[in-house]
């Protein structure tokens, strides 16, 4: 196969577990909201709490999950902690899913019209 490259082909179950874990981190809407909020640039926890209207504890936990997964980075500045996107492939991932979903919804809408 000429185009074997880096697809999931032949990946052992152990590797798929890692891939699944990465997808699982992205499978939480509030985490996506946090990522989305950070597209504009780094923000501290308080700003993210205000923007998302989630509790501080909840935001903190989600940020920890995202940081441990390597998706976000952390920077302390005095009392504040600033978080920022550390994995630029996030945007490609979301774009892929979004465009796919749009395609599916468009097809569904068309089928409803006959």
């Amino acid at each position: 196969m000429p185009n074997q490259a880096k697809t999931a082909r032949g990946l052992p179950a152990e590797a798929l577990e890692l891939v699944a874990a990465r997808f699982r981190v992205l499978g939480e809407p509030n985490r996506l909201r946090l990522i989305s909020a950070l597209e504009q640039g780094e923000k501290n926890v308080s700003e993210l709490v205000a923007e998302t209207e989630l509790t501080q504890a909840n935001v903190s936990r989600h940020l920890q999950t995202l940081t441990e997964a390597g998706l976000l980075g952390r920077r302390k500045e005095g009392l504040n902690v600033f978080y920022f996107i550390a994995d630029e492939s996030l945007f490609k991932l979301c774009d892929l899913v979004c465009s796919r979903l749009q395609k599916e919804l468009a097809a569904k809408a068309a089928s409803l019209k006959g």
Copy 2:
């Protein structure tokens, strides 16, 4: 602007819920194994059960989840039901995650060597 949950790129929280749901479907290692098995082409449930060594009930449920998400397609042929990849963007998604994980693991390995 009204008090709306803010997200960048003009994606409302409602849309992010759909995106998250799609990621969640991919966040299960056995589902990734099924997808991986189908890269070679369509297979019926029995073949997938043999290949993954999961129970038939479990495989059937995962296939249902993947099909309802639009990732797989279904084709009945007599007693057999064949499943196949219906969303080619799956490969790009996995490619992105895999290459990113490889990069992270390589960096971690290098840091362990000092």
